[in-house]
């Protein structure tokens, strides 16, 4: 009975709407994609170094080397992109108040990502992985999710920060 009354009032005079808003699927954020991309960069540098150490040269060598370089480029950029999305879309003022170094950290990740694209500097790529671990640590803390450090179960088997679920 009351519903019909309210419906009539709504039709006659209109009603302010309050959204019980959900954010599917864009509310899904996880730094693991950037962390895996950075691991891939290290892996590509290892594969390039290994290939370069062998005497064979020719079309097969060029093909493999080109593919490693292309994947390194792509994943260094992916790491940067995925961090920018979390930084821009997820991190809010109250997070940044609590983690004032987040801006500097994201800037550092951008720099290390670029260096990983431009060079075959393995140290820079490993630093990129570690900076992303630091970023993941902050991200999970903002969600009150405990974390653990564990070696990735695949080459290059560097340590990553994972949510301890």
């Amino acid at each position: 009975m009351f519903y019909k009354l309210f419906e009539t009032l709504d039709r006659r005079f209109g009603t302010q709407t309050a959204k019980a808003h959900c954010d599917v699927p864009c509310g899904i954020y996880d730094p693991i994609t950037a962390q895996i991309a950075a691991l891939t960069v290290v892996r590509m540098i290892d594969l390039m170094t290994d290939l370069e150490s062998k005497p064979e040269r020719g079309l097969a060598y060029t093909n493999s080397m080109s593919r490693y370089i292309a994947v390194k480029e792509e994943h260094a950029e992916k790491a940067k992109h995925d961090v920018r999305v979390i930084w821009g879309d997820y991190l809010k003022a109250q997070h940044l108040e609590k983690y004032p170094n987040a801006h500097a950290l994201v800037h550092k990740i951008m720099g290390l990502g670029s260096k990983s694209r431009q060079s075959v500097d393995r140290d820079a790529a490993v630093q990129l992985v570690e900076a992303l671990n630091e970023f993941a640590q902050i991200f999970w803390e903002t969600k009150s999710v405990a974390t653990k450090r564990a070696k990735a179960p695949y080459a290059p088997a560097l340590e990553l920060v994972y949510p301890a679920l």
Partner: protein, 103 residues
């Protein structure tokens, strides 16, 4: 002050569904009367007018932390506590849509 408001979205489902109506009230010293579990309607700069459940009230800072019922709800976990001045009112009457709530 009483307000008549219509619900859209599903973040408070199954308690509040799309098409339900609510009546809210806001009185002086409003925050003192709010408690965990109350349903409030408020304005948020990015998302407009929202309806959420009160998780906790900070009377000293005059703000409330609000949540939805689902993991994907956009609420204080994303946009932080809601200032008291942004609250439109507390829900005091829930008129369920017969389309959503079988009797």
């Amino acid at each position: 002050m009483l307000r008549r408001i219509k619900v859209s979205g599903h973040s408070l489902s199954p308690d509040f569904e799309e098409g339900d109506f609510v009546v809210t009230v806001k009185i002086p010293l409003f925050l003192r009367f709010l408690k965990r579990g109350d349903i409030v309607v408020f304005t948020q700069p990015l998302y407009g007018t929202l309806i959420k459940r009160v998780e906790w009230v900070d009377t000293a800072r005059e703000q409330v932390f609000v949540v939805g019922s689902h993991a994907h709800s956009v609420d204080s976990r994303q946009f932080g506590p809601v200032p008291g001045r942004s609250l439109i009112g507390k829900v005091i009457w829930h008129i369920r849509s017969p389309r959503n709530h079988a009797v």
